[in-house]
Symmetry: D2
């Protein structure tokens, strides 16, 4: 951490500050320039509150050098984390494909989609039971019943299931869920993250609509600080000025996050664009950039889907796509490393 | 709602769609052009799911004409809503000033700040007990104890208290809180909004970091749909590319929201900028633009504040500011109407 | 175009407006609803000024249905445009790779890089002579001398050359330049676009830092309206809140633009990220998404490049990358269509 | 400037780098930490190219401490610059109001608006002759004839005139123009800025749609580096995710820029919102925040304006507003300092 002092700072206050840092085990290197004095703070600065320091009268600016996350940091954990979900391994060079409808609508629907995506090579089944909707007047999901139907589909197909939680109070319903998803709008719902940190179950953490990489990693850090290190990160498109697509997929998030962290990074091409006709090119791009997996919305009848129909692809389209994605993964394994 | 059909749509599907709309009580006006057919949907379209319609094979695009919010809409409720908090009236031409520290730190601190801001003319006391922090390693607030200290300060000064909730499970602790605040990061925590909708207590709803006016109003609608219409909206700065300030205060939110909704609109100049030296000019701007109130961070010792010190002003600065704000409100009452 | 009238509009004004539209050959379909009247305007609305109509007292809102660009619109020109540059064909299923240094620095440098990228299979040579720099104190390019050196490299290698223009007054220097590049900051320099529209020479038009797809296409339309239809569009990253990368590559721009327009679409992975270590994964992603080409910064000595060194890759890295990109293009040709 | 070295850097390269810095008169302070070495560069670093340094193999990151602008920097020029335009003084505690139509349309129109705004107390007349329009099919301004008509209005009213230039080749037409405006889309048209730097005439420089404060100041620096220090900065709204308004006025730009630079800062409330009904509240907010002036679109017949009618106010509205703005300026002079 670098602290830039104001011009002509009160020297007694500077000495107090340096003394306080020494007590915390931080070494301080002072560079006195013509117009400014700079302090270089060396040691474990992740516990220093940057806001506290900025507030000091003698301080002009503070810049962090070291990342504020530890558990998620590849510097301290160089090996890829591989998250195991039953027989499925996420990360470590595997390509994991998660597929299924936006919402669970009926037993028939979810079982039929599950069978179909399994036949096409999907590794896990997704389906929304609790649905965050912008309008209180839109379909809010089947909730507990939706989770029950997912477990039926799992029983039929042996596919592990991934579904979204919206509030820590729903946790008892998630016992048979294999991967708990945290949606983009809850990425900084810190109470929920803390609750998930106390579990020993994989969490799929989606990037917030306007979140930076560091903010996403700090949210992962919340979960990991509680002892749960089975976190899968998910790029799902960020908000930009472009309105033709629902969001803008940030494909660079894949190689950058994989550099900053050891956690697996997957991509959601369906929410990234909000348009079924873009799912194939965006999926190909994500895999070519080195993604560890994809989570794709597949619906047997998108026209009558109760939510997000415009971004769902049909099982037969998914079938061809899944095959091509594995070929690209094969080809690009070298390029993205 | 306007539905633009694809070129040469399947006529049977078009007829089915129109029949389905008629069943829902929607009138359909058809404009057949050379290259495109446009359907004008007339009636109560707020219950129509725009996504469902977009997903139809025959549909190229859908545009909403009517706002998707009802209870919050000024068109259906032309009179200003005045939220009553004890003797304080928020909205309806009053200027409400809420002041206090970012975090409650101790009885001495909160009582002293409360007395001081009361003497300067503040109408309510703010103070954080549950603190949403980006890092799990930062101070997370005194939590239940913080609320207890706020009630002590209220007992001493008779100022109503405003404090933030982070999860619906904390509600039992908020019995003596006068106004429950929902932070920017929880603006779309829909489970929390629903829980607050079932109360009959004022809610101060902050705009999300990247939320549009419509999204803010839809979140208000979540609360109001549950029967709680005591909602105060709060502009607190949005994220932009500028990093010199923590956020960018969108002062136009004030006159625009007051046009779209009957709910009171206040501004938080402290979080908007994240810099104490900008609190005064931003507060003046907000009042000049017609804000119904302000929520300002005031700390007796910003250098040692446990959070957000850099944006807190001292009581003596607040004192002069509060007076000037009332003068501007007096002068501008006509201009912003 | 859809015009939504205010409630209870002045009927005489409505009739005047409809008469004026009829004079312009526009048919008007009127939908009278309970609370609002909607006019559907049918005909060639691209010449109607949406601002003029919005300003009418009787008008609440105007929404465009038809795209405001014609010459660039795939609807009116379904076949891919193939831009011919000597023997090189850009678009129409080809993968065009343009490579070279950010700035032309010396004869030795540009000739050596040109030979090297040609050997690796590049189809054109890039190199900056006029350099738009944020600071007046940074290296501004060799200007006329830079163009002279590029023509030397072209003479040596037979690679067509691509270089940026910053002002119409520089045009006389561009006689021997094969493709004139318009940089992101000049995307809406309309006087420059008009000047380029009067040429019969290919223009590589980069997307502005915060431009939408429609704005990019309207800038292409400026050039095409002058009679020059040899326009190559280039995605080069947009500004987002993420600062780890210089910009954020919007890979969805590729399939979306190719749907909206018949013009070729290439990608600049070097400016998109501003980091050499991301050039390979981003290039792979762009090609997997269906890009018609790439423009990549290659420098023989990035550490001593006079500008943008951090984003340049070395010739030996480019060599391996170019081969892989052609393999991905082969594999994905089907996926992105 | 702070340079963070990679872990275990090549020591010979580090020594070379330090030697090179010494040659440039830069002192280097080295802080060796456990995991990282940090170099503090002290001296005039504004001439160091941050990109060059970032590209070095031994460098992990570089952070600038000192602002990269000099002539525009208040640190080196603490007194307010007052730009004199005839008898009008911009900056230094004055409130300058510039008013007039978006486009010059006819002699009658411009003279009539000029007389009217003069009577209401405007200090200068604005009017567009060269119009940057997104579409090539929209009205492009009267160009040379527009400037001629402006000078007629000036002859009639003695109001100095402000009008926009779009290309350096138009300069000969601007001889009788008092203040040359650079539009938002040309803020980084560096060739144009250099041409203006060689003049000795005031320039009104508008902030780009997505520009940061530093970028705006660097563009001012381009003009000032040429010797022309009569630059007036103008906040005119930035692009955000909100589409209800055309742009989002960043009112904090006023106090922040006035802190960073000695140049006067004015605000354009008309382009900021794109809606005439927001001009009054946004103008009041800007003045309350300490703006040195405003540039407001006033049209005698907004419904028939050839461009930007929706954001123009009528002369009678302007009349009341101008008076109120002077009252607010009087009241707030203390608050924003």
């Amino acid at each position: 951490m670098i602290v830039i002092l104001k011009q002509n700072p009160n020297q007694a206050q500077v000495n107090n500050f340096i003394g306080w840092l020494h007590e915390k085990g931080i070494e301080v290197h002072t560079s006195v320039g013509i117009s400014q004095t700079i302090l270089g703070l060396v040691g474990d600065t992740s516990a220093l509150d940057i806001n506290l320091i900025s507030a000091l009268d003698i301080v002009e600016d503070v810049k962090r050098i070291q990342e504020p996350y530890k558990n998620a940091n590849r510097k301290f954990h160089p090996q890829d984390t591989v998250v195991k979900v039953g027989d499925v391994q996420v990360g470590g060079g595997n390509l994991t494909i998660i597929a299924g409808p936006c919402s669970v609508e009926s037993e028939e629907q979810i079982v039929s989609v599950a069978r179909s995506v399994k036949a096409s090579g999907a590794n896990m089944l997704r389906g929304g039971a609790f649905k965050p909707r912008t309008s209180p007047y839109s379909f809010q999901g089947l909730r507990a019943e939706g989770i029950r139907l997912l477990t039926l589909a799992k029983a039929e197909t042996a596919l592990p299931i991934v579904t979204e939680i919206m509030d820590a109070s729903q946790l008892p319903l998630f016992e048979d869920v294999d991967v708990i998803q945290v949606g983009a709008r809850n990425m900084q719902n810190f109470e929920l993250l803390k609750a998930l940190g106390s579990l020993r179950k994989p969490v799929l953490l989606k990037r917030g609509l306007s979140a930076t990489y560091e903010e996403l990693l700090m949210s992962a850090e919340y979960i990991m600080a509680g002892g749960n290190d089975q976190v899968i990160l998910c790029e799902r498109g960020i908000r930009t000025f472009e309105t033709y697509t629902r969001n803008t997929m940030d494909v660079a998030a894949v190689p950058v996050l994989k550099r900053l962290t050891h956690l697996p990074v997957i991509v959601d091409p369906s929410h990234s664009a909000g348009r079924s006709d873009l799912v194939a090119p965006l999926s190909c791009a994500a895999v070519a950039a080195g993604a560890d997996g994809l989570i794709i919305e597949v619906h047997n009848d998108p026209e009558h889907a109760l939510c997000d129909g415009p971004q769902s692809i049909r099982p037969e389209v998914f079938d061809g796509l899944a095959e091509r994605l594995r070929e690209i993964a094969e080809l690009c394994r070298g390029a993205s490393k």
